[in-house]
Symmetry: D4
Subunit: 252 residues, 8 copies
């Protein structure tokens, strides 16, 4: 610890990074960032931007960048994204910013991405499911997994689904996102012997709308699925990463 404090003293490590090393978390004005989560839990803490001010989002992203080499943000709106871009242009102009719908990843120039020998298949039923699937995809890519994305495969015209069975079977783990009646994960899982993580999507209207019918249908599925909450793309992606990493370790 003496060593660490000396490194802080001579400026070779920032106070935030030192706090992260010592405590596992870093205190910023916008709250604590759990920098050690990656190591303890195997997945980084993502910054859930919804309901936070742009300033809070920027502060947390900069802390994440400083202590873990990159920041992962979900449910980012346009105002928050612009604020982030502006702030980083100033504080860290070399950082790379990637945006997929409402999911944003920021990479320090020195960040060395991990590698993971596993393929996650990500399947959606329709256009409305894509932002949710993007959340999942970014987490998987961040962890170094290969992603095979198959979009717009609704059960209303089954031929579109059956066409893709070979790709479903080639994946190590599948994430299937669907709204409305949410039947797609059941149909896909019935065709493969791969673990399937089902993600209900907030779509539909009237009774069972807002993802409620999809969630209930996935929990009642007559095949084997495990399920995450409505629109929880990040959680599905992170669970796929944990499974992929176990497979990757076994492959080495």
């Amino acid at each position: 610890m003496r060593e660490l404090l000396e490194a802080v003293a001579d400026g070779s490590i920032s106070p935030a990074a030192a706090e992260a090393e010592l405590n596992g978390y870093v205190t910023s004005e916008a709250g604590r960032f759990d920098a050690a989560r990656q190591q303890r839990r195997g997945i980084p803490e993502a910054i859930f931007a919804e309901g936070k001010s742009a300033a809070q989002v920027v502060a947390l992203a900069e802390t994440a960048l400083e202590t873990t080499g990159r920041a992962l943000l979900t449910r980012v709106d346009d105002e928050q994204a612009t604020a982030l871009r502006t702030a980083l242009a100033d504080s860290d102009p070399e950082a790379a910013i990637e945006r997929r719908h409402s999911t944003v990843r920021v990479l320090a120039p020195t960040y060395e991405p991990p590698e993971l020998d596993a393929t996650v298949g990500i399947v959606t039923g329709g256009t409305v499911d894509e932002p949710v699937a993007d959340e999942a995809e970014v987490v998987c890519l961040d962890a170094g997994a290969t992603v095979d994305r198959v979009d717009d495969i609704g059960v209303a015209s089954l031929a579109r689904t059956l066409d893709q069975v070979d790709r479903f079977r080639a994946a190590d783990v599948l994430i299937v996102a669907a709204g409305r009646e949410g039947a797609l994960p059941t149909v896909v899982a019935g065709l493969v012997d791969t673990p399937v993580i089902a993600v209900p999507v907030d779509s539909g209207y009237g009774y069972g709308g807002d993802g409620g019918a999809a969630l209930a249908g996935m929990l009642q599925s007559c095949t084997v699925l495990s399920v995450v909450n409505i629109d929880a793309g990040f959680v599905a992606g992170a669970q796929a990463v944990l499974i992929s990493r176990a497979i990757d370790r076994a492959r080495r």
Copy 2:
């Protein structure tokens, strides 16, 4: 009317049948029976046995038999069925009794069944759906329709479903009953250009159990379905009869 009353007086018509002819309904101790429903609405009044005493069920069945030539009963339990059998052995020994799970039909020996030139396809997902489908089937058969029954076609092994597409397409109208996540009507409807009536079935457990997920999923279906309440096999069958009769009239 004078004629009718004279027929009552000389015993050639029972008071109940006369009341039915005059009022459209018959008053028994167990309540009124809407004998004119068949003519007005195109389908007979069925006797919903659940929650009625065996004596009430017998009284209503005998009234129906006397005024419309047959009685249709749903949700009949063993005690009620036995009471009915015993009572009819006495009052109407020539009446024929048919039972399918909890659905019972009693036919007067003189009853002349109608004919209907139309085929109703009735499809179920699993064993648990069969009593509900039986309710529907008995109503369709009672109306003279041809029924093509396809059981045990769950979406968990899709091949079983796809095998039967030709039979689905041959029907004039389809009734599809399913519990758990209730995806079967959506999958079937996506394969045909026939009207599909979806029946959610009270099965499953936990969240969305008791038919709730199935109902929500059918109402949210991304294809075209109309839906009846959970376990409402009679309603689905009667709606199929109304459609079949319109087709039958057009065919003549």
Copy 3:
């Protein structure tokens, strides 16, 4: 297929139309359009505009127009409608645009509408039900059916309802839309021997508001109804079309 590709090569058919012919669906930037649904399912894929950007709506409408001769759009808001008008003025100035509340239909000048020998009665309880009934009406008209529309027939003054019984009886199939307590479909169905499709409408307030009481009441109806989800005018209309077409085929 060679022929088709040559037609693409010489420009007599667009790549989108060729893809539709080959695959059944067409890929645009706004997602896939299921061009073959009309043929397979008997009804066209409608574009559900709610939650889509104006650009996505335009792209899907143009794809539909190109591959099926017309586009059917539901839940279109003013901004989307204006964007569509502007885009079509440019890309397809001869296309005809029809708008009924939030339902829009675009017709290519060469489009030849089908004919259907059947009448759909569409009945509403009050002013608030009309946009939902319009969705149903546009689908029926698009399919070539005759529509008999009876508006503003609430059960609070029953005389208004009873006045119209002859028109109800003259229809081949009835769609009845109602909000609040949703009793109208039950009252109408009790008077006719026609199949009735009930549409609960999102109206009312407090307990059972937003169409919830109407949906529950229709599913509990003591007469025979089949039901679609709250505000699902399109689904009701499409189901009426499937029934009408079966009647029409039988009439020929």
Copy 4:
């Protein structure tokens, strides 16, 4: 008070009756009985038998009988009714016991019933509604009102309802009980200028069953109704009594 205590001392009044006179309530082993409710609230405290032991029901009934001249009991099952009959044969052999389904009234031989110059119309949709309507009827009769009971008037065959309009209009206040979709109070209220109290009844099945659809529909009624809880026949009857008594007072 001295007088009262002397009356207790010489046995011309029981201790319970004296306690009732002094405190308004009487303490028995089965809890307190609110003997003064009649005077304060205008309606007697009824004994809700459901969930009480037969012994508790008997004790409370005897207390009511002793202090108010009669006992009114709701939701009485066969075992409780038998226990009551047995106990009274012993303790008060001249008391008269009236039973209507699960509602029971016991009258002391000296009880002088009140008179009320008002008519309560009580209307039901079907057989299943009758025990609930009986609760209401017994309360109204107990208060001395005239009751005009019209049973089995479901909206599925509207003619049965319309036939009775003159009787509906002749009542000073109407109670309308209905289960399933609960449309009857709305239809009746639309025909009269009388206050209507709607009682949803626990019937039906699946979504909106157990009286839920009926309650929601009555609260959403597009005409003017006030509503009591599901199966709350006693409350509806008591409210009708309060209205009738106001009318009766005005008539005098």
Copy 5:
């Protein structure tokens, strides 16, 4: 009828008024107005402004004014109220406009208000209940009843409630509006022998917010209440009018 048509012809009666006399309802561009409701049901049709355009509200109000001498509007927002004021300044400058929160009444200069010999007590728990109570009050005043309004009597400080018992007892019928836990109608009803109509108000937050706890509590009340839907001030007022009119008739 000949007479009526001649009156239309010579302009002494408007076509709308004539249609109202003949049909009971008047057709305007904004839908039908049930002009005969007052006569048939004893209360006028109120115009529910929420969700209607300002133009529709104006059209319906003018129709009501023309055919029944005044217009009663509920849930009117500022924009609708301004539009109404502007339109009437032009079409009917002598009409008097009264506004209480979101309730508006417009009176033709020739309108002769009815008289009703009955007092309605209207009680509220807090500031938030007042707009709902205003709806009720305006209906009662419109019918000619005397209104005794007691505001801001919450159960959290019971002394405020108990102070007013004499006024509660002096009323012929009581309307009690309360939000949050909705205990006020129970407390008030326990103190009087008057019929009490309870109105749950949309207030509170979290579990049971939006009037849900108040509605449930009023339906579960251990005293005698009848209940209307959340925020249904108009319905409560109209029911009080029907009761008041019965009392008034009895008093004459």
Copy 6:
């Protein structure tokens, strides 16, 4: 620890008691008993008997008795109580068994009860609330608190409530249990400056029955309450004990 093991060896302490001392919990065939909870959390682990076999209940009770000197059991049915009595007659004939409705306490002859200088007021609305209040009372008595119990104080006749204000004010902490609309805790709390713990009770019927209206009303109370789950008499009692002990410590 050596000492402890020697005590086990020479039989002066049982293995269970030794395990409890070492681990804090004891393993029996019926699961672990958290013997250290008393010390850590300030309240003993109660044995929730519902859903357990009589044998499991006996095993856990004997373990509790052996390691903490007494056993506290809630939701005990007759069969379980009899089994317990029989078993203890054999294993520990000197143990004292106390039963209040479904709550049972068993005391070892050597058990020395604690003393607590604080009074808990326990108030109920009606007979149905008493078993729940008994659960609370037994926990308070077990901890040595003084209990002042006030039963049968419903808000339907407010005088019964107001009579008792002095007793409410004399308590250090109040537990108020009520079912139906659950208004009693609000009324009581409005009269005192004591902390009030509200317990909703599973009573009532129809909408808001089973304690739902009471729970919602207590959470929405316009005065200050904290709330426990429906029928959670034990939790309310234990919370009152924790507060009483803090007061007791401050008094010393």
Copy 7:
């Protein structure tokens, strides 16, 4: 009282303060303010600003300030806060205004804060819980209690929680606020023998969002907790004050 009126007459006391002294409440244009609540209930009436106009908020705050020496406001938005600041600059320029998120306290210069010898620990799970905890904290500080605030202690990294056990144990009463799955109060309460008041916070998304999962989890806690409604920081704080005051009284 004569004295009081003379004080009003000579201006040494305001009419509002006199009304407060006489009646316990003060009538302003924005409703009544319960000035005596502090004395009767031990906690001041807070002004719930949500849904009130800025003018109403100002009027109530000024009344509170005048009659109780300070005003406590919850759920204040920016517009209301600004209006308050502006109004007070004019009417009471020496008043001190404190704001914590949406909670505001205004202090008259002459106000003498009470002292309370007790410590309330306030614990939050994350950033989103802080405004709710602030409500609680302001009430506790207003009552003179010592507050020990521990923020950002989520159960996802348990080490952060376990680190703080000594501070938890040092408090006399604990308030624990948490959203999402709401496990924090259970985890904290398992570690201490202090009364814990749990506050569910409106956070999360999808099923169980808006505080619903947190509320349910806290009511189901397998340890001892009492609970307030979602986001009810004020109620939790006030309950902690009532407990603290009892402890404080015992300490004196």
Copy 8:
């Protein structure tokens, strides 16, 4: 196929086994058994006994045994288990029957169990969770996985949980079952980098009882979990098997 039919002809293979080989499913009187599911989906079809007659359960179990070498049954009650034992004593006396609470496995003497190089940790919060965990365990053992079972680790005494971290970390995949507030999976998952499958258990009472709070809490978890339906031990076990098999394949 010729070969297969000859094998049937000479009796070396049963007709059921031949049908299974050809169709993938076998038809018995109790419905179809999906014998090919093991191969297609990687897990056998389990027989869900709840709601089936003993005869149906026996028939399906015998079919499973004959075609896949063993039968896996869940939710078996005593009557069904006895019937199975009796039937097998006759038809297949050498079959081994294993029972864990309501889960039963029957093994043909010739059955050769698979081997799987992976460890599934199964963790429960309390006694009530054990039957659900047993379902999961039997599926894992059937697939050849190693199971490490840790029972009775509730969060109310956290030390019991923290003690077991090393065992949690040693597993390849974790199943965590908990009822009441369902916090255990979140606490466990926060300590490991292993995939965790959370199983809510039907326990608790009042609001959020029957597993509802646990399900909501697990879906809202602030760490990474995937979830199955309430009491769905079989599904959790089967998902763990699919993950384990992927790891096992990678290890080879």
